[in-house]
């Protein structure tokens, strides 16, 4: 890796780099988010920053945008040292940012959103006219059409992102940072975004693209820096590298993910989903006509770009949301279909367990003691106390057993759950759900935010469950994880299942399916 590192500096010696970071260092308590970051971003280029979740990409960009301040280090913009203490300073220095979660005021119009913070005087009237004119110009120059009087909350996500870009450009941004911009976009919207970025580059703007998707890096960037655990481990010219090399640099190991497992011996079907459709409270169709089955002793993985219905699929099967139509059966018993859809508590009784995607939001009450979380959802079990009562001893004894079995650290069931690391929190959830000996296990993002040792442990547990004859559904945004764990892969796009592949299928083929493109048509 060291051979290619630093090559980005070889070009454009005539003008100073658009952005130069020197020795940036940042800690959050015990977490060392950024260590001694040195980065040059040349003017008029698209510079990619890749890394796994938690590698420190977003922190670094938040420092550049003044949302946080570095503990030490220096920032140069166009060769001049700048002191960025707030977003205001960053804007003054010509830096604009499109956040992963849009910073838009939803009830405002596009116009109001664009002018917020740069109103051009205490009265809005004059500013409005100016913004309107400027928006017209930007629209022409960068193909950024959007109705200035539309209410932002009513716009589709792709257009909202365009408003974010317009905001930055209106503020005179010379350098635009985009944080995971395609995570929420449809492929068509992502294509449009890339065209816009190319246009920006053609006009001499500099773009920093943060992503963990190597395909995007290869498609659009000029140079790419790889971050790993808070450090920049390499910076290379994109044309001189390959996705494999980048992937290796990202994870620091040659083999991405391999799980030791024997071939599956599927038995009878334990989970069956037929023609499942789900519309959310706004009437948007999130799942349409989804059908599949999982047999005993089989892991089925769902691959897909986040936001294509995977979360809804898990929550509908788990009874958290009621399907609009369709039928679900768990271990032969209908749980949704002709009658009322069963609720989460009833589904647990049918032998369904669910490790939710977001353990902080859903899977745990972080203010609870560990032992209290170890019974969440199963607290009505008579084993934990008769009648209306809850026996502390029964709960704690049970928790201590799981702590030992699953090697949860620190081994203290009276500790507040918030004080456990991500990996151990995930183990608390897994231990709770697996120990019920469920017939069907739903697992969302099994290893998100989990350290490497725990990843291995969690994967082994899932395989052991499979070998014990359970049906497992795994949803993960990490394609590598889905491929490593699954016996079959279903690809979801726009609320539908668009294909089924074996885990050894060509990655590019799965990628095309995930992007909503039919592989045959594309080929």
């Amino acid at each position: 890796m060291s051979a290619v590192a630093g090559q980005g500096q070889g070009q454009g010696e005539t003008s100073p780099p658009a952005i130069e970071l020197v020795g940036i260092d940042k800690r959050f308590g015990p977490v060392h988010a950024n260590r001694d970051i040195n980065l040059r971003v040349e003017k008029g280029t698209i510079h990619g920053i890749v890394g796994e979740n938690g590698a420190g990409k977003s922190t670094l960009m938040s420092i550049l945008y003044g949302f946080y301040q570095a503990d030490s280090g220096m920032i140069r913009v166009a060769g001049r040292e700048v002191n960025i203490r707030s977003s205001d300073d960053a804007i003054d220095a010509g830096i604009g940012m499109v956040h992963q979660h849009f910073m838009l005021v939803e009830p405002f119009t596009v116009l109001e959103n664009v002018m917020l913070g740069v109103e051009g005087g205490a009265l809005l009237t004059r500013g409005i006219a100016k913004v309107r004119g400027e928006l017209k110009r930007l629209e022409r120059e960068y193909a950024l059409e959007v109705d200035p009087d539309a209410v932002v909350g009513e716009l589709p996500v792709g257009l909202q992102q365009r408003v974010e870009i317009l905001k930055a450009l209106y503020r005179g941004a010379e350098t635009l940072i985009l944080d995971e911009p395609t995570g929420v976009l449809t492929p068509a919207e992502a294509d449009h975004l890339f065209r816009i970025l190319a246009q920006l580059k053609a006009q001499g703007k500099t773009v920093i693209l943060i992503t963990h998707k190597l395909r995007e890096i290869m498609a659009i960037t000029d140079a790419v820096s790889v971050m790993r655990r808070g450090e920049i481990v390499s910076t290379v010219a994109t044309r001189e590298t390959t996705p494999e090399q980048l992937a290796e640099a990202m994870v620091g190991r040659r083999v991405l993910l391999r799980v030791n497992k024997a071939p599956a011996h599927p038995g009878r079907e334990l989970l069956s989903v037929e023609n499942l459709t789900f519309r959310d409270s706004q009437g948007v169709t999130r799942l349409s006509d989804v059908s599949f089955g999982i047999r005993a002793g089989e892991i089925v993985g769902i691959a897909g770009v986040a936001g294509n219905g995977q979360s809804e699929l898990l929550e509908v099967i788990a009874g958290i949301r009621a399907p609009s139509s369709g039928r679900i059966a768990v271990a032969g018993q209908e749980t949704a279909g002709t009658g009322r859809a069963l609720l989460p508590a009833e589904l647990r009784g049918c032998g369904l367990a669910h490790v939710p995607e977001d353990r902080h939001r859903m899977g745990l009450v972080t203010a609870f003691e560990e032992n209290e979380n170890a019974i969440l959802g199963y607290h009505r079990d008579p084993a934990y106390g008769g009648g209306p009562f809850l026996s502390r001893n029964a709960v704690r004894d049970d928790a201590r057993k799981r702590i030992e079995q699953y090697d949860i650290r620190p081994p203290n069931c009276r500790l507040k759950t918030a004080n456990f690391s991500g990996g151990n929190q995930q183990k608390i959830v897994l231990a709770r759900e697996m120990e019920r000996d469920p017939q069907v296990l739903l697992v969302g993002q099994p290893t998100r935010g989990v350290d490497i040792g725990a990843i291995e442990f969690i994967h082994r547990q899932l395989i052991a469950m499979r070998d014990a004859g359970k049906a497992i559904l795994v949803v993960s945004v990490e394609l590598d994880e889905v491929r490593a764990l699954s016996d079959r892969i279903l690809v979801m796009f726009d609320g539908r299942i668009v294909g089924e592949r074996m885990p050894d299928a060509d990655e590019q083929e799965i990628g095309l399916l995930m992007a909503g493109m039919d592989s045959k048509a594309a080929a």
Partner: protein, 409 residues
């Protein structure tokens, strides 16, 4: 397919293995400041500091009217605890405040702020009064009072039910609706008292006095066994009812499945849904319990003391419950202690107004507001400093470990 994930050597060397690190180090190291406070400081010292702050500020007000705050404290403490009758009144008020504090705390555990205990208690008194008026001529007190107790609970719960239902099913904010229900309770009770309960030929909007058939035995006799003379203090059996209610709330919140569900809803509603807990059901059940506890409060003044329904008999006790719950950290033990403190304030304050005319009883309202302010809204003011101080004093070696850890990075 055979090689498991190799953990590179650089991974081990880095600080990424947080799980292993926290296993050996005390948790205090792994968390930012706000969670570091040891339990004794969190549950005893911090509330104490908040109360002291409230008293210091109130003391300034006393100084401003030219009185001596220390002298005032002395008079208050003597007035509240110095003689039998004072103690009797103190405990009588304490009874009210325990009920009110419990009502607020139960709701709090489900994440609900019940500002309506005042109105719920008021309407609870209506239920007790109906029973008393209907039965006091026919039944002995020990038959009437249990029925009145149930009626007070039911009426208080019913008054809490509508805001609960509106919150659970229509999403109307319970803070706003319970405030409004206080006013509605007031309008309802004034209307009933002025138009229906009032005794013909009198100007006093109150019900007819209850007979012995609707009374609760006073504790004067019990105390006289120990040589204490409660005098005219209306302290009655209700105080035991309040203590039973406190035990009930403790068991409910920490030892039952329902309490577990309530706490889950209060701390993380999304996780509650995931766990198969119906949040709207919990909201309604919680408010029914909360309202019933507030309703119970009414027994103490209405049947235990005045023996008739009077205008505004709750007299702000429902609001004191907010201060009591906040100061008692929503735990029954804390609530009983905080209720005792406020009981002393109310009784001692009355005494104070007598001895120091320039210091009127409204001083208590100021202290009450300041306790709510310091223990509730400003709870983060003393916490960081206290956390630093406690950690420095109690665990110097831990501090050295932190510093060593910082230096090594």
């Amino acid at each position: 397919m055979s090689s498991p994930i190799p953990a590179g050597p650089d991974r081990k060397a880095s600080g990424d293995g947080i799980s292993a690190a926290t296993a050996e180090k005390p948790k205090a190291l792994a968390r930012p400041a706000p969670d570091k406070l040891p339990a004794w400081a969190d549950y005893a010292l911090l509330p104490l500091i908040n109360v002291v702050a409230a008293f210091v500020v109130s003391g300034l007000a006393v100084l401003m009217v030219g009185a001596n705050p220390l002298e005032a404290v002395k008079i208050m403490v003597f007035g509240a605890l110095g003689y039998g009758e004072g103690v009797g009144f103190t405990l009588f008020y304490t009874t009210n405040f325990i009920f009110a504090g419990l009502a607020v705390a139960v709701a709090y555990h489900s994440g609900l702020f019940n500002i309506g205990a005042e109105g719920q208690a008021y309407v609870g008194g209506l239920g007790a009064t109906f029973v008393a008026l209907a039965l006091d001529h026919f039944l002995p007190w020990y038959a009437t009072v249990p029925i009145a107790l149930v009626a007070a609970c039911v009426f208080g719960a019913a008054w809490a039910f509508i805001p609960a239902w509106l919150q659970a099913r229509r999403g109307s904010h319970i803070v706003i609706t319970t405030i409004m229900f206080n006013f509605l309770a007031n309008a309802l009770m004034v209307w009933l008292l002025v138009n229906y309960f009032i005794q013909p030929g009198t100007m006093d909007p109150a019900s007819r006095p209850f007979t012995e058939g609707a009374s609760i035995p006073k504790l004067g006799g019990l105390f006289s066994l120990f040589g204490a003379d409660l005098g005219a203090a209306p302290l009655n059996l209700c105080i035991f009812l309040a203590l039973i209610a406190a035990v009930f709330v403790y068991v409910l919140i920490w030892r039952t499945k329902l309490g577990y569900e309530m706490r889950t809803v209060g701390l993380n509603p999304t996780a509650a849904v995931y766990a198969g807990i119906s949040t709207s059901r919990i909201i309604i059940i919680t408010m029914l319990i909360s309202g019933a506890l507030a309703g119970l409060l009414a027994l103490n003044p209405v049947i235990g003391d005045q023996q008739r329904l009077q205008l505004n008999f709750v007299n702000g006790a429902g609001f004191v419950g907010i201060a009591v719950a906040l100061m008692g950290r929503n735990h029954p033990v804390g609530i009983c202690l905080a209720a005792l403190l406020f009981g002393m304030l109310y009784q001692g304050g009355a005494e104070l107004a007598f001895d120091m005319p320039q210091v009127s009883r409204e001083m208590i309202l100021v202290i009450q507001g300041l306790v709510i302010l310091f223990a509730g809204a400003l709870e983060h003011m003393f916490r960081p400093g206290l956390t630093r101080a406690v950690n420095m004093i109690s665990t110097p070696q831990r501090r050295r470990m932190v510093e060593a850890g910082e230096a090594s990075r």
